[in-house]
Homo-oligomer: 87 residues x 2
Amino acid sequence: MIEAEIYITLKKTVADPQGLTVKHALESLGYKEAEQVRMGKLITIRLNLKNKEEAEGKIDEMCRKLLANPIIEDYSFNIRCLPTDLQ
Amino acid sequence: MIEAEIYITLKKTVADPQGLTVKHALESLGYKEAEQVRMGKLITIRLNLKNKEEAEGKIDEMCRKLLANPIIEDYSFNIRCLPTDLQ
């Protein structure tokens, strides 16, 4: 079993109203040191595969085809093999 | 300037209908090897602070008070100092 953690973030040039709202909320709680807040997605996928390279290719495809919107989002991911007792 | 990446995930025992929907979408695209999909949040915060320990304390507080719901979510974070030219 392979587990992938996928990080999807808005491109730097894309406005992030949700992040701005969180920044204002932090400020109203007294956290004036928050300069910038950007919201992204963290997707954890378990794959029934053994080969890390194959998993890497599949995850990259999934990101391009479904999980990320390449026009406004960037993505990156980490892949690791799960020990048998966690499966 | 310090940048924190905060990872917010649903606790293992909490149902994740959004993740299930993504899993079904992946299956309908032919990715039968996707065993489990869990959706989480990735929040990137830039703090106008210099001290890493102070930033760690602040981020932990922000997670507990606002960013995560401790009843159904877990959180973790990474903190790094940004080089001056990225500020």
